[in-house]
């Protein structure tokens, strides 16, 4: 049972990404008038991450897109401590220690600590010319390096790796992508969609090496020159981007004794194992209505929707609240390939095509226990938007024949089951 916030309560939010900033916005929009403090370890005014990997233009410097217009925190009467890290959380005293020596007391705490790039423990990972991409600082470094690089090797064919690969390829770089698995985006896409993506990138001239891990990075004078694959093959490189996923920032919560399960574990109302501490966004493992189990998601949609949900819940309290249950959706732009995913597919789902991949425009419908569970759309935004409506309804009455027939208007169908 979440008690509604009283106006004297101090809400502290840790994190200034999508989730943290939306949290401030939602608390105020729902009418909370008490004090709010937001603490973020990045010194920058909160900015948008999605364009950083999708719009690497390679010439002039990056002008980040702000998450909210200038003056947002002032207008929201929120104290923003930027460039400050929270070094300790004491749930008993309800107090935080800060890297600038300060302390903050809270009545309610929201952890929106996000995730960070997974390190690759290989020889040469610390050479100059080896990059990761998550923050604005990362993007600026990559951007500068890309303008001087000719041969780009990308480790990992996930969202970030392939988005950057497509940008670099468009800039005329010689791009090689090394992927340990036998297909790209294996964690996010079914094999039909995955194979299409592989073919599309190969066709544009990207050298996509599947089943090839990374063994080491070699350099000269401290600068990377070669990526050595797990097969032993050597790939000359002026620039290496490591894109092998992220790990949630759970240390603060873990040291405070909160329950951790891949991410910071929360219940359906996004409350951690401490009744005064909540968690939202990439750092959170929550009971997911659509997967039927504890899930951690990395997406703008999940970050903003969870923050919206929690903002309303904290202000209004809950009597008959069903918990957070927004449909997950994701997207990626990779050159001419626009991938949109609604719902979450699982190994064992039956994949049925809607449309013909040969046309460059199709969807993969994923059925679980006979019902539609997820839809992956490639250059098919109509299917994607209809899927987002279909999947929040009861799809059990819809046959795969009807759904997979390109003549079927999915939007109409979604209205019919609502």
């Amino acid at each position: 049972m979440t008690q509604p916030l009283q106006p004297h309560e101090h809400v502290v939010i840790i994190g200034t990404g999508q989730a943290g900033v939306q949290m401030v916005d939602s608390l105020r929009q729902n009418g909370f008038t008490g004090p709010i403090t937001v603490v973020g370890d990045e010194p920058h005014t909160p900015y948008q991450r999605p364009p950083l990997s999708k719009e690497l233009a390679g010439s002039s410097s990056i002008v980040p897109l702000p998450l909210r217009p200038e003056g947002f925190f002032d207008q929201a009467e929120t104290q923003a401590l930027l460039g400050v890290e929270v070094t300790d959380l004491d749930p008993q005293a309800k107090e935080l220690k800060l890297s600038d020596g300060g302390r903050l007391s809270y009545n309610r705490l929201v952890l929106a600590t996000g995730a960070r790039n997974r390190d690759l423990p290989i020889e040469g990972a610390d050479l100059q010319g080896v990059h990761g991409l998550r923050t604005l600082d990362d993007a600026e470094n990559l951007h500068t390096a890309l303008s001087e690089a000719w041969r780009v090797v990308i480790v990992g064919a996930g969202f970030i790796g392939l988005e950057v690969a497509a940008c670099a390829n468009k800039l005329g770089k010689e791009v090689t992508v090394l992927e340990f698995a036998d297909r790209p985006m294996a964690r996010a896409l079914t094999s039909s969609a995955s194979h299409y993506v592989a073919a599309a990138h190969t066709e544009t001239g990207i050298n996509l090496k599947l089943g090839e891990g990374i063994a080491s990075l070699q350099g000269q004078h401290g600068k990377v020159t070669t990526a050595v694959g797990s097969s032993g093959e050597q790939y000359p490189a002026d620039l290496v981007l490591i894109g092998v996923g992220v790990v949630p920032n759970t240390e603060l919560a873990e040291n405070a004794g909160l329950k951790i399960s891949n991410g910071i574990a929360v219940d359906t109302q996004l409350c951690t194992s401490d009744p005064h501490i909540y968690a939202v966004g990439d750092c959170t493992t929550f009971p997911n209505h659509f997967t039927g189990g504890p899930t951690r998601l990395e997406s703008v949609q999940n970050a903003t929707d969870q923050a919206r949900y929690l903002g309303a819940l904290l202000v209004q309290g809950n009597d008959d609240d069903a918990g957070y249950r927004e449909l997950p959706w994701f997207w990626s732009n990779q050159g001419g390939v626009r991938i949109q995913i609604a719902g979450i597919s699982a190994p064992g789902d039956e994949a049925v095509l809607r449309g013909d991949p040969e046309t460059g425009k199709f969807s993969v419908l994923c059925f679980r226990d006979g019902a539609l569970a997820a839809v992956e759309s490639i250059n098919a935004p109509k299917d994607h938007m209809a899927a987002r409506k279909l999947l929040v309804g009861d799809t059990s009455s819809l046959s795969r024949e009807e759904l997979s027939d390109p003549e079927t208007d999915l939007r109409k169908l979604a209205k019919s089951i609502r």
Partner: protein, 108 residues
């Protein structure tokens, strides 16, 4: 110099002059224009940068892409078949030198 005028629902307005071509949504966020969210960062995924283009500029607009058409179905304020557009999909300073838009009441 290319410019964009944003009219707020309460009647106030702001005109931003552009040094280089830029989309309506990004210009709003960078210049503190309220009422335009752009949650997905300008990727035509979220329908939170909805604007109503003023009559005088309608015939100069670029065609809507399929992505934009689909997202416009999702806007939070009333959809106007002629005037509703996504701010991230309209760039000023290339073909179109000037535009005036009305910012809707809500985006979410």
């Amino acid at each position: 110099m290319p410019r964009i005028t944003y009219h707020q629902p309460q009647g106030s307005q702001q005109t931003i002059e552009l040094d280089e071509p830029a989309p309506l949504m990004q210009t709003a966020l960078r210049n503190g224009v309220p009422g335009i969210v752009g949650e997905c960062g300008g990727q035509a995924m979220c329908a939170t940068c909805h604007v109503y283009v003023r009559e005088d500029y309608l015939d100069q607009l670029p065609e809507k892409s399929e992505d934009e058409e689909e997202m416009l179905e999702e806007v939070a304020s009333p959809f106007d078949e002629r005037r509703s557009r996504l701010g991230c999909q309209i760039t000023i300073g290339e073909d179109l030198e000037e535009i005036e838009v009305d910012v809707p009441e809500s985006q979410v």
